[in-house]
Subunit: 153 residues, 2 copies
Amino acid sequence: MAFLLSRLGFEVGRELGHALAGLGLEVRHFGLLRLLADRKGHSQRALGAMLRITPNRMVALIDDLESRGLIERRPHPADRRAYAVTLTGAGSALLDQALQAALDLEVRTCRPLEAEEREQLLGLLRKLAEAKDALNNEALAGIHPGMPASDED
Amino acid sequence: MAFLLSRLGFEVGRELGHALAGLGLEVRHFGLLRLLADRKGHSQRALGAMLRITPNRMVALIDDLESRGLIERRPHPADRRAYAVTLTGAGSALLDQALQAALDLEVRTCRPLEAEEREQLLGLLRKLAEAKDALNNEALAGIHPGMPASDED
DNA sequence: TATTGTTATACTCTATAACTATA
DNA sequence: TATAGTTATAGAGTATAACAATA
């Protein structure tokens, strides 16, 4: 079952990549845009910690999206070393399209299942994910906050 | 749900990698050893086509496992250009250990679920995988056999 | 002294295109 | 001519360690 889960997850991830490619986005771009829609004005390091992306890679990722006018590096109100990374109007609009593409994929992925089966599957996957989160939060509780610290990932 | 599936699948795959690391194996090694246990004496290209690994990468992969005495390049009975790649006794023994490690991971992964729920989940994942296979086989039916041909993957 | 963003360097992984020996 | 295995080269992606500005 673990094998099946891994394989399906890998394929769905790849399909999401294909779906986003039409918008000129990759999965990591999507992840950052999605995060910026919820949590506003965070520093690059804070965002990287949430996404498990190291500081040097965040530079390239943010350079990329900023050069396309989708996000902005604004001065951070409390720390002149840092930027407050912010979604622009164009970024928000493209994110909406990306979310729509993800929803289409969702529908396509679920098509082989009956409505009732989808609910079952969703519930079971949630249960697994929550159990895993509980484990991770416990394990991460003792770690210095703000740092990726993904040595023993 | 697609997102949840992708995330869980990714994490399980990573955990399998950690479980195999103790045996000095990576997931790709495991995949090849597993394949060799079932289908004996195939050429490198045939194996690569099944695993979606290009010929040049197969060389390095097989070099690696052969240098550790886990597999052998024997002369191919019907084609002097090719090798009949074969699992050795040591390879078979290590594969058994790897399968045991994978089974342990399976048990750990399923722990948050009741026995009945596991059956449900397994059934639903199988249904999704089979639907996907049906699609792929149809799409692949027109492609020249024996070639990876992963242009539009 | 520690931290934010950045850059430079090296290293790994991979794809592509050659090459040889056979078919 | 096409195919099996191999090798060489170049390119992408990444980690690591430095750096200047600020805390």
